[in-house]
């Protein structure tokens, strides 16, 4: 799914928070978004995910505006993820359950992703009682488990310990390679962005200021 943005404008109290003339995210690539605190990165990502209204401009997904069916294929992982008041396992299988996938497959997929992100021991813990990094990992597992076409990540490794960062980066790049998953991730870690991304969008005060390869 290609994403084209034209003349996008989003204001808060008359302050333009996102103001992008044109940019595009091509299917099957990994994009990094960097920029100062308050540059508008989170706002942009939420708009792309269809979670935030905007004041002007146009976003086309494979040539058409966002519609219900497409939203099912896009997922967004927040900077402060919300986990449901159930077990870690129930959180992770939720997107599969609502897709009516058969129980056997659900169990297998959940097991695989938990093993991959090394959170199997947390399986039965209440998701609202996790540590900062644990929450981030569980939310990521929940986002990856249903193989979305477009993955929007907001600082996914901000609170992750160094050993696990590699695991997570690997999990993401693997899916990009194997399933052509499109990834747009915000990160303040320039090394990480350079390691992972095909293209980098840098934002400053709402505007896109440069693209580095």
């Amino acid at each position: 799914m290609d994403i084209h943005i034209t003349n996008l404008l989003k204001k808060y109290h008359d302050k333009a928070v996102v103001d992008i003339d044109h940019t595009q995210f091509k299917s099957g690539f990994i994009y990094g978004i960097t920029g100062d605190n308050g540059a508008g990165k989170t706002t942009l990502l939420k708009i792309i995910a269809g979670l935030e209204r905007y004041d002007a401009g146009e976003i086309l997904y494979s040539g058409v505006p966002l519609e219900q069916g497409m939203m099912k294929k896009i997922t967004y992982l927040s900077q402060t993820p919300y986990l449901m008041r159930t077990s870690v396992y129930e959180n992770i299988v939720y997107p599969l359950k609502i897709r009516n996938i058969d129980p056997m497959t659900i169990e297998k997929k959940a097991k695989d992703i938990m093993d991959e992100l090394q959170i199997t021991e947390l399986k039965n813990q209440l998701a609202t009682q996790l540590s900062g990094g644990e929450s981030q990992k569980v939310a990521l597992a929940r986002a990856l488990v249903f193989d979305p076409e477009v993955l929007l990540l907001d600082e996914p490794t901000a609170s992750i310990d160094p050993a696990t960062i590699d695991t997570i980066e690997e999990a993401i790049t693997k899916r990009n390679k194997q399933q052509k998953m499109t990834v747009i991730m915000i990160s303040h870690n320039m090394d990480q962005v350079k390691r992972m991304c095909h293209e980098i969008v840098c934002m400053k005060k709402g505007k896109k200021i440069s693209i580095k390869e």
Binding site: K73, Y76, Y82, M84, Y94, P95, I98, R142, F146
Partner: protein
Amino acid sequence: MDLLKEGLKEALLLLIRFDKEVYSIIGLSIGLSFTSTIFSAIIGIPLGLYLGVKPFKLKKTFTRTIYTMMSLPPVVIGLLVAIFLSRSGPLGTLGLLFTPTAMVIAQMILITPIILGITYNDAKQYGPSISQIGITLGASKFQTLKLLITEMRITLLIALVTGFGRAISEVGAVMIVGGNIKGHTRVMTTYIAMNNSMGNYAMAISMGIVLLLISFIVNSVLYRYVAGE
């Protein structure tokens, strides 16, 4: 003090004696309040969730109206319902005044805003992040509603219990629209009020104790059910 002791003794006797009238009064109270709670929940909960989550204009006005509605005076509700249902009123042909149906209608008008208000208030606060999760994980509108309900179950439970508690303990409205007819529309609160106005304090108190017990039991059972919290 003696009256209280006597009331307690009387309350026990009331229940042990298996007095048919008393049991049918208790049964009617519970039945009516339960019915109106269910109907009010069917209206109030989805509406409250929807309005809480959805951004819309006039939200402030709406909030204010809801809170005003939450304190609608029961006598006024009773009066209005009675006027509408009376023979000369617009719905007079239905012949509903002084029937249990009229009482359910009055109770619904009383508690729907309460259930709606409690739901709306929390949905406004937590709803957006919950429904956002639904959306990002690919839930349909209906699945998102289900998610909201499961995540906010404690709030919704409080709304239900509050609504039921209000319905079963209310007297002003049901007295007017029900008429306190023996064996027909007499409920616990009108029984209490009547016995009080007849000077039968012990009987009034004993039924009052039964009413408190029911309230406590309903709370306990539902809290146990949700466990946690």
